[in-house]
């Protein structure tokens, strides 16, 4: 029986598509998975130039903002936060899926995380990087952003710890740091593999530097396993805490629509939901372009789709609860915002788009055929990404634009600079991602090989048991 058939038999036994279709030998796997970093292509170059151009637009828009002042954005009083904070929450939300996949699924020993954790983590890092720009950029005086950290100032002034913003800074920087170390640690064995197979001396030396002298000894593997496990344990609560803290930026305020205790779970669920959507958005094209159907299988698609369905349902439940509580709480301001302005106010069209997409999109994943269709998944994920951006937008803007005194009510209208920055960060994100695909093994080779061994072993045992059973009969 060839490997593919073997695997199919296993899948049938567990009634799930397999997490790994190939049973190719280690050397073949290594070669195949390292190929993208040795062999470039014209497509990559074109995409690289396009995204570099988009990144330049972002850089220009940012430079213009910093030099002129954030008056070049559409913000006003009362809508003092809008696009920048929307982008921040959106990107940081996207940053959640990576660590969720690598850390929580690691601890839960979910084998399907293996093939996709590396790029999901990279996605997290780049998303966090994008996200972290906005709290700085949106400041009136961004060059003083470091005041938000409790650094040893000679004036002995500390941040004001009752505000959620210093918590935010701490949470994001911690998350970013842990994610980076976690990601890099996982990379070390693969970087060593790249070093060992590098075609030129320069590449060998470069990868050698980054491989930190990894030789693959048992002691190395022992330490590696321990460190990886500890980091996984550290990262797990961070997945929950970061977006909880982000939600405090709103929940500690007293604005109608913000001041709500439901925000932490609501935001965490929303973050993982949007993060998984972004994983799908990236995974489907990568799988296709690099022909990785054996490594990233239907099983992965289905698992991610199920996660999206679960978290999406939580988000939808949160919508229902916050609306209900606005009525149940009896505050006239809260009722106006939730039951009138959002539903029929000037931004209601956005609200209804969000409610619509976030209801329909995840619920399509009840259907196995949709869960297993890469195209459908990709299309739905784009809708979810857009809806989740719009969700943050209306959440922020509807509460601000009509708060307590009607005399101050005003609309918010974005400017071209606002648009250039959000589009620019998308390009920047893809730009970084392209660099990642080109220079770093984006599928964890050692883990895939390990998985193959485990699967092969399981399949062997299965086969033996089957044989014994046949003999016994």
């Amino acid at each position: 029986m060839d490997t593919r058939a073997e695997s199919a038999a296993y899948s049938k036994a567990v009634d799930e598509p397999s997490v790994l279709l190939t049973r190719a030998p280690d050397a073949v796997l290594t070669r195949r998975l390292l190929a993208p970093i040795w062999v470039g292509g014209i497509t990559w170059k074109v995409l690289f130039l396009v995204t570099a151009g988009g990144t330049a637009i972002m850089a220009l828009a940012i430079a213009y903002t910093v030099i002129t002042g954030i008056g070049v954005w559409g913000n006003d009083i009362p809508v003092a936060w809008a696009y920048a904070i929307t982008n921040f929450v959106w990107w940081i939300g996207i940053g959640h899926a990576g660590t969720f996949i690598s850390a929580i699924l690691l601890l839960l020993e979910q084998p399907w995380r293996t093939s996709i954790n590396r790029f999901a983590e990279a996605m997290t890092l780049f998303a966090v990087l994008n996200a972290a720009m906005f709290p700085v950029l949106h400041l009136g005086r961004p060059w003083l952003a470091y005041w938000i950290f409790p650094y040893p100032s000679t004036m002995q002034v500390w941040p004001q710890f009752r505000s959620a913003l210093p918590w935010d800074a701490a949470a994001i920087s911690t998350y970013g740091t842990v994610s980076l170390i976690f990601w890099y640690l996982g990379l070390v064995p693969d970087l060593a593999a790249a070093r060992d197979t590098a075609p030129t001396l320069l590449k060998r030396r470069l990868y050698g530097i980054f491989a930190l002298g990894w030789r693959g000894s048992s002691a190395h593997w022992n330490h590696y396993r321990i460190a990886y496990g500890i980091l996984g344990g550290l990262a797990t609560p961070l997945v929950l805490s970061v977006h909880t803290v982000v939600s405090f930026d709103f929940a500690i305020a007293q604005l109608p629509g913000w001041h709500s205790t439901i925000f932490p779970p609501y935001f965490v669920a929303g973050a993982i939901y949007s993060g998984f959507a972004m994983v799908i958005t990236l995974m489907v094209p990568i799988r296709r372009i690099f022909g990785l159907h054996e490594v990233i299988t239907t099983r992965h698609l289905e698992a991610v789709a199920k996660m999206t369905l679960v978290t999406g349902s939580i988000v939808y439940y949160a919508y229902a609860v916050e609306t209900f509580l606005a009525w149940y709480g009896g505050s006239e301001f809260e009722m106006y915002t939730m039951l009138k302005d959002r539903i029929s106010g000037p931004y209601a069209w956005i609200v209804w788009i969000v409610y619509g997409i976030n209801f329909v999109a995840p619920n399509l994943f009840w259907f196995r055929r949709i869960r297993r269709s890469a195209i459908a998944l990709f299309a739905i994920s784009i809708f979810i990404n857009v809806a989740m951006w719009l969700e943050r937008f209306f959440l922020i803007v509807t509460s601000l634009h009509r708060d307590f005194l009607p005399s101050s009510w005003r609309m918010y209208l974005p400017t071209f600079v606002d648009g250039a920055i959000i589009l620019g960060t998308l390009f920047f994100f893809l730009f970084l991602f392209l660099l990642f695909l080109r220079f770093v093994p984006f599928v964890p080779i050692s883990e895939v090989k390990e998985l193959r061994h485990e699967l092969a072993k399981e399949e062997r045992e299965l086969a033996e048991r089957a044989k014994e059973a046949a003999h016994g009969r």
Binding site: L139, Q160, L165, L405, P406, S407
Partner: protein, 968 residues
Amino acid sequence: MTTPTGHRLPLLEDDGWSRRHVLQLLGMGALAACQPPREPILPYTVQPAGVVPGKPQFYATTMTLDGYATGLLVESHVGRPTKIEGNPDHPASLGATGLQHQASILDLYDPSRARLPRRREGPAGWETFVREFGPLLPGAGVPPPGEGLHFVLPPTTSPLAASLVDAVRTRYPRAAFHFHAPLYARAADEAARAAFGQVLATQRFFDRATRVLAIDADFLGTSPFGVRWSHDFAQRRRVHGPADDMNRLYVVESDLGLAGAIADHRLRARPSEVPLVFLAIARALVRGSPRAPDALRGALERLPADLPHAPWAEAAARDLLQHAGDCVVIVGDTQPAEVHVLAHALNDLLGNVGRTVAYTPTAIVEAGEASFGLEPLLAAMDARAVSTLVLLDVDPVRDAFADDRFGARMAQVPQTVCLSLRETATAKASRWFLPGTHWLESWGDARAFDGTLSLRQPLVRPLYGGHDALEVLAVFAGLADTNPWRLLRTLHQRTGAAPTDATWNAAVQRGLFPGTAFAEVAAAFRADAVAPAVNAMATRARPGGIEIALRPDPRLHDGTFAHNEWLLELPDPITRVSWDNPAHVSHATARRLDLHEGDVVEVRWNDRSLRIPVLPTEGVADDTLALTLGWGAWVARERDVVGTDAYPLRTRAAPWDLAGATVEPIERPRPVGGTERVRVELASGQPHIDMHDRPILLHDTLETFRNQPDFVRPHDDRRPSLYGAWTQHGPQWGMSIDLGTCTGCATCVIACQAENNIPTVGRIGTAKGRAMHWLRIDRYRLGTGEDDVQLLPQPMLCQHCEKAPCEYVCPVNATVHSPDGLNEMVYNRCIGTRFCSNNCPYKVRRFNFLEYNDYEAETPKMQKNPDVTVRARGVMEKCTYCVQRIRTAQIEARIERRELRDGEVRTACQAACPTGAIVFGQVSDPNSGVAALQGLPHSYAVLQHELGTEPRTRYLAHLRNENEEVPA
């Protein structure tokens, strides 16, 4: 012209240039220093040994508006006037100011002021001017000296101007003097002449009136006496307890004014209807008073039976009759003479004369004379009989009646001299141009509405080397010494007002000569005047079509302040629109004509037309378009014309109310085919006026208040808190704002802007909602419907919450609470997250989205208050309760080893408020004024019960004194 060091700069005198001169001029520009006037000026308080840097001094001086004096105190920092306050000794001020007074300081430093004197051919200095016009004018010597010499001045009350006019007349007996100001109430003078046989000023004592009937009279707003009248009116409107009485205000008008907005009963009436409603009231009054003179009764009874709004008029009349002798009937300056005559008759009938109304001689020089207006000049120009025309501080090319065609007529005059603060249209059309002086730059005098003789002492030498109109008159008079100070000194020595240095110095220090108010004149109303007046009113045709009401602008007055960025950016006190003067139209009419906010319409009246955006707004009579005058100037900051100039519609025959106009929206071709409306975005300071039934501006009737004095209590309760109360030590500051007496005039807004270095953000910034006003006037719509509603004002500023939502969300401690209860803003610490603004329920925080201060232009910097930080971009700012004033007072008290006295600290808004609606002080002192006010039963804090913010700023609920008999 001299350099700041006092060296003579011969450049302009010699009309020649050299390297040395150019360098001198450049040096002058770089220094642009403020120099005190050469003559001894005296501060309001005791003069210290020398000027102490950092310690401001106050000088009493006088500003005139339409000729009438208002006494002011001007704060000066090391020779730099920075802020204007009222002069408490002056009858027109009583310590308060008006909008234009506050804003006028900005005009002093306006870089767009004219600088260079010129003859048409090119630059020419003052000396050249004196050489040319000082000697007896050539060709004018024989036979009649001064034939063809005409002067146009603004209406003046200045004895010095009058004496110089006389001096010119002595030299040129045939010289003619005309007085021109577009808003000057000629009709009132005519009416006085008709009613009393002489030109008299009517004095109204609103502080003695329990009932006021205002016919198209915004006596609290656009009137030149608005400051004093607002003060007096508030005296009878202030209610501190259920036992207090309150006046009642009836207003009949076409466009909503400040008085109309707070009126207890207001009737919307088309301009042509207003006199008819007044006649209806008059007839009801006559029918109710048996003593009514036969002439009046006869004239009114002959009227047709069906006068409009008769039930309303009768109810108002009954009320007035019940308060005969302590009511006031006032008619606006925009009404023709016959309406004024009827008002005189009614005040006479009601027995108000001698009690709430009195007559004095008018303070306006030559008022009522045949030569007073421009008409004789126009005739002379047509006859080519004008050889030299001297235009001093007037701009008739722009603001004379359109059918005067003043510019065209003026072009035919061989010699024209114009003196003006700016390069006005008249200046551009003149052969000689001299830069004028700001009133803070030159000596002068003027009389207040009641005749009180007031002195104007300058605080700086002319910044741009200008000269005063008085000097020009002195040149024409052939005086060797044209120095206005010496002229003034000599004049008042001669008249006996200030015979000695001591009396002079006392008058300069106080800004006025006490006891110089005119005595009341016992004027008998001529009964025969009333019949022609009533007939004139009644026979006025009742025209169809759209009627146009041209009105003075509450902000720019007649256009004198059309370059003042503070006033341009100030939201209109009623419509809240900044940087524009859209035509007001009622919602009903807008719907009928399918007009929407910002639609540009073509207004046609006879052969004249105008393009102007429209604004459907509250309180405008149906089928009426209300336009304000004075807009349409080119403003440097905007690099554009701001607003629409309505003067081209104004003609001698119809100066205020135009009937039979048409209004048509303008269409333009769309790029994709078809047409679309031409529409402009109006920069509204407050797009929403619906209160959504939220307890923000609490209000009720006097009746309810008497039955239930603490009707505000449910919205002011403190909610139980998990946290204990703060223990408070030392003085605790707080503010009380009386919504019952606030007229929403917005003087406080400009006062705050001047005091606290608040920048302007321009039209686009305002439209985006980025105006920086720390204190704003919110207007909320009361009542159902769209047009017949009340628009009540509510000053909104930092409430200085004890539990401030802004403080706990700031990540860097940039907004913190002071031990004396101020919510403080630490600009240096602010990084600009704007979280504080988001969390402020009152949205009173203002953010520097861009760099709003001009660091390039030299002179505007000089206006800045050195006690207040100029904020850079990227930081949040807001009302500080004028902390700089608190600390100054505390330091002074400490030096003198005493406690602060109540009322010693007055915030800028409080000091400027004409009605005294704002009171600031120590809430911790139970004997203080503010503590007493905050303890009143109808004192409440906005959203206190709902949000628990515990604001230190509390409001007294608005009360209205409704007359049940008046039909809704």
